[in-house]
Symmetry: C2
Subunit: 109 residues, 2 copies
Amino acid sequence: MGITKTAGFTTQTTEMADVFKALGHPARLAIMEFLSKSTSCICGDIVDEIPLAQPTISRHLSELKKVGLIQGSIEGKNVCYCIDENRWNEVKQIVQNVSTQLNSLNKCC
Amino acid sequence: MGITKTAGFTTQTTEMADVFKALGHPARLAIMEFLSKSTSCICGDIVDEIPLAQPTISRHLSELKKVGLIQGSIEGKNVCYCIDENRWNEVKQIVQNVSTQLNSLNKCC
DNA sequence: TTCCCATATTGCAATATTAGAATATTGTTT
DNA sequence: AAACAATATTCTAATATTGCAATATGGGAA
């Protein structure tokens, strides 16, 4: 049905799944990596970096913003996008937890 | 168009975006967390754990398998699914790299 | 004000994803 | 072999996502 059933999952699971989903597109993942590396956070520089049209990138940015992965602030004529470290730390936490739990299990396969 | 443009992105970016996308669904994220925690890896136990019908879960499992996040091995009448640690480490690496790079930047916002 | 420049929004067509009923498959037990 | 148990596949509908042209918005410069 194209609609995701959320009943029966914790809010935390559903919310973090949305965050991972946002990372699950080459353009959005590339934007996150660009923002983590570059000293620039100007929207225009992202548009130059990513091989998609400006409206498309604008939409991807708004999706990253919707799930809280980035924040945008207006700088005169430009917009500066930055990674929200708190949100990113939540992602890191989930990934690390799985790793930790994996190590404490005896593998069966 | 519902189709994702991959031209212009590195293979690594595209491939890892697919991995994150696979994690971007409550059921699949819950499956990964279950597999990391539980000593059981039997498909039937996953079906009992996740509030979706068996065919739906089977499909989610096959998607996790497609991107290499889990492996399945037949154990008689059952199937045992386990997390592929190599793939998981790649996820962890990306997340950690972003964190590291973030810390070496002076934030602008 | 008028003209640019940077970014966001809208609208639409093409494609992808999701869920589960029905069914198929494969292995086990009797 | 027949009956059963566990899992996978197929099918279909509803819904979501993607990309971009066209357009809107809002700020700075002339």
